[in-house]
Symmetry: C2
Subunit: 455 residues, 2 copies
């Protein structure tokens, strides 16, 4: 009964419970908990029984001498049923990490739902990011990698901003230089794609995978994706050949596979679904089957693993950059205001092939003359801007607007912020914007990259 001692051990022994049995814990306060009895890693001495919930997340339940423990289903029955094909949200994995050296992965906590655990004793959600706490919550990550972990910040992702991107870039670079074989950034999902793009531009010649991971549902909910996503992210960080910045999240609503998306091509496309993250105008880089510990590459990665000396950090993001979505009748005073406030870059989310109302052409031209860079993207998200087809597009080109190809508006915003912190020279800005630096452009958008809609 590894990890259990004192009266907790007696409680379990009285119930005849063994590691791997499904048990129910009924406390005096009326709350009850059900899950698979897990071994305890002796981190602290609190009177806690660790069970694996059906969502795969391990929690510690505080008990006392009066708590009742009951075996619901013995381990042998569970294994027999699983062998016969019974659904199991997260199958039982080995109880002990396999021996021998494993890849070294660093998990960097920045905040959000994934970087928290529910204290069942208090009901409070707390950041949980010591390596020990992660291993307690999701021991499976310890089977594929040697984990170190630390909390860099505890920021809800809606509160992220360029200065935090810069801190994360430095922290990730530091871990790579310290020899880790992969770095995981645990991040809130709301702006994870923006931060991912920032890392993708700032970390040049990446020698190892850098994986952003999050959770759409917190770990106390039966439908939580925290454990599944973290296991998938660890697999990618430890074992994938793709040395680029990836967002790893659930691939569908079940628990069969996760996807690794190129950070510059991914978007959160749903407020709440577990498979909210989807690649736009691009195929995901890889499919991950966490229970089979298998990674299937869907396309050639931007880079493969290389020497850690190759890493070049080009950190720094211009703050005076805005992302402006066009809408019918939009008043030109908004453009004038930004230009007059000294904005150095404005990414326009135009309509269709890259248009805005004709009354904005002159204000934009004035901005260009005063040194503001304008980049055009499309609010359709899919497809690419083409400003040579219609008059409005040609007039915008003549005014100095730079077409953004098939770049996502969000990625174009991050890229322009990054470029304008590097150079002020117009020809260089344009050249960097048009160069495919971190996979932000898809050269050829094939017909199968458009989703299939429900009709």
């Amino acid at each position: 009964m590894p990890g259990y001692s004192g009266f907790v051990r007696s409680l379990l022994a009285r119930a005849g419970a063994r590691i791997g049995d499904r048990i129910r814990i009924e406390r005096n306060d009326g709350r009850s908990f059900e899950g698979i009895l897990m071994p305890r890693y002796a981190i602290h001495e609190r009177p806690i029984i660790v069970i694996k919930l059906d969502n795969g997340y391990n929690i510690g339940v505080r008990v006392d001498e009066n708590t009742r423990v009951e075996v619901i289903k013995p381990r042998e029955t569970i294994l027999r049923e699983a062998a016969a094909g019974a659904p199991a949200a997260i199958p039982l994995l080995e109880e002990e990490p396999p021996p021998g050296p494993k890849p070294r992965v660093y998990i960097l906590g920045t905040g959000g739902t994934i970087a928290s655990k529910v204290e069942y004793e208090t009901g409070a959600v707390k950041p949980a990011f010591s390596a020990a706490e992660i291993l307690q919550a999701v021991p499976e990550v310890g089977f594929v990698a040697d984990i170190d972990a630390g909390v860099l910040m505890n920021t809800l992702s809606e509160n992220m901003k360029p200065e935090y991107w810069e801190k994360i870039v430095d922290a990730v670079a530091d871990k790579i230089r310290k020899g880790y074989d992969g770095v995981i950034v645990a991040h809130g999902t709301d702006t994870m794609a923006y931060t991912g793009a920032a890392l993708a531009f700032a970390l040049r010649n990446l020698p190892v995978p850098v994986v952003l991971v999050g959770a759409q549902r917190s770990s106390d909910r039966p439908s939580s994706d925290a454990a599944f996503n973290l296991i998938a992210a660890t697999l990618v960080a430890a074992k994938s050949e793709a040395a680029e910045v990836l967002v790893v999240m659930h691939g569908e609503t079940g628990d069969t596979y996760a996807l690794a998306h190129r950070a510059t091509k991914v978007r959160k496309m749903h407020t709440s679904r577990r498979d909210a993250f989807q690649s736009i105008n691009a195929r995901p880089v890889a499919k991950i089957y966490p229970f089979e510990r298998r990674i299937e590459l869907l396309q050639e990665p931007l880079r493969r693993r290389g020497s850690k000396e190759d890493l070049v950090v080009e950190n720094g993001f211009e703050r005076k950059v805005a992302l402006i979505k066009y809408y019918p009748g939009m008043d030109s005073e908004i453009i004038d205001f930004l230009v007059d406030r000294g904005y150095r870059g404005i990414v326009l989310e135009g309509t269709g092939l890259g248009h805005v109302g004709e009354w904005l052409v002159d204000p934009i031209r004035r901005g260009v003359e005063l040194g503001t860079y304008f980049v055009m993207t499309s609010q359709t998200l899919f497809g690419r801007v083409n400003m040579n087809v219609y008059t409005t597009g040609r007039r915008l080109l003549q005014a100095g607007v730079i077409p953004g190809g098939d770049m996502l508006p969000e990625t174009a915003f991050v890229k322009l912020s990054w470029i304008l912190a590097r150079t002020q020279e117009r020809s260089e800005v344009i050249s960097l914007l048009q160069r495919n630096i971190a996979g932000e452009y898809t050269h050829r958008i094939t017909i199968d990259l458009y989703p299939r809609w429900p009709h």
Copy 2:
């Protein structure tokens, strides 16, 4: 040889060409044209041969005595091959409209790719919106309805604005009151969904279908969708039971079906594909098979056809409303500026469940206190905002932000503009915002409404 006379008739007779044959026309200027020989409706006396291009669009080719005409494939062969299943972009329909009274449909031209035809004589693209010209270009529309048509404006859709919405509302209402059984609004695709939403809010108790239609590719291109979409739109306007505002466009890349989308739930999702328009968080209202002249309802329409006296026009849109997309680090000076400029409404396109950076909460509260309405939507597009889950959402609610449910950001922008032109009373504004007025809310978003992504 209906419609042909003089030397043109001789040219065709010499070639042995009959109506329905596939012919090639070779002109002295080196240009050649290929298509099905069509009858000519005697509109003017110019020396023109009308052929149906493979995209279904009929064009007039100017000829002279030295033009060569050749039969490529006789009508009988085409019909035999079509009967054996050979692909035909647009099958041959009857050559004469069926006798008897037909529903009356009015086609209102507002501009855009669909409302133009290419003058092959000059190569120029011109608005083509007399009924005669439409019937010449796409005679099939005359088989399902008695068509009247007129040009209201010739505005590229990126140049649309609320004052044009108001003109279109009045023009459509006028045609309905004049007894038409359906009204088609030919519109550029870029902002068609915004205009559609505007019509949906302003035209209350609609007694007939109001159909917006456009083309992604102009009619001189082999891949043009102009003819297909116009035939489908005419079918819906003439025959559909759904008395609501619909956007009718291609449903897939082939030529099998078009879709009728609820105007408040549709979005242009691709810069260039023919099936760019897709319903978000909703099923399309109907599938249209133009060649079978069949309409398949996919859900109960908002209203069914009713008495033309029922129509209530609530026209008018507040101009001082903005749609603001949030991005990491967004400076609060943008909110302050809009509030100080007297904006009466701001629709926020927040992250995830409806969040923005915490530093925007106080500026938003100030705006609310000064009388600006803030509505929250999500840049994920799919799903619905829920501002009770996380602290940031709750703080925004306390500051006075009104959650927009699953409304599209674009629809919320139009709706807020419409409401603020009706009332200034806060309780009324909130009540109207939260009421489902034109199908802008989906009560229950089922799992199958999320598209299937390519992986």
